[in-house]
């Protein structure tokens, strides 16, 4: 197989993009570590860091990472619904329902985080 096998088919390309969202996860996680580090160092460093986040390069990187994170969340919720078999009583819960539970959890957790912060 050629090294660019994943360009041959739409589904393969989608797959490789899905896998590359892990870079967005790592990137943002490291960004968060620095956020906490700036908090630890005091208000000045914190404000400096917030300014740093406003720089065009960081804005661009964050926008890209955001796209990656969203793609990660959506694919993850949909696929985990296929892997996890939930039974209520005797009937297997259809995958779509499991996926929608994932999405509801996502919305609730997001709302809670916003509520805590503001």
């Amino acid at each position: 197989m050629t090294i660019f096998w994943w360009t041959r088919k739409k589904s393969y390309l989608r797959f490789i993009l899905r896998e590359l969202t892990s870079l967005a996860v790592a990137f943002f996680t490291i960004e968060m570590i620095f956020l906490f580090w700036s908090l630890k160092e005091g208000p000045d460093v914190y404000h400096e860091f917030m300014e740093f986040l406003r720089s065009p390069v960081l804005v661009f990187l964050n926008l890209s990472a955001m796209a990656g994170l969203l793609f990660h969340s959506i694919t993850w919720f949909n696929l985990s619904a296929k892997a996890i078999v939930v039974k209520i009583g005797k009937a297997r819960i259809p995958g779509k329902l499991v996926a929608s539970v994932n999405y509801i959890a996502w919305i609730i957790i997001s709302a809670v985080i916003v509520w805590i912060l503001y």
Partner: protein, 115 residues
Amino acid sequence: MKHQFEPFWWSWFSAGGTLSALVLPVVMMIFGISVPFGWIDDPEYDKLKSLIAPVSSRILIFICISLSLLHWAHRFRFTLYDGLQLQHLNRSLAILCYGSAILISLFAGYVLWNF
């Protein structure tokens, strides 16, 4: 045996995948987009600091960070392994990916420990 630890790493990958999918987008939306674009104010320093100060918060954050990193490590390892066909570097890739995830987690732990 080569695959003895696959279930171990995969468990972290899965847990991290779920956690990052649930938590990260909203945090990114706040700090990475809404704040820089000025749609909302910067979170106040004192409030943020006091939110994170309790040990329980710091433990939660540490779990979130380290699992996300392990998620990345496992997934990225296979992206390189299959996508770039580096099967012959399997061991080195594993050490590189999981190693950096652990090192960065340790750094995060250090930051949070001394918060």
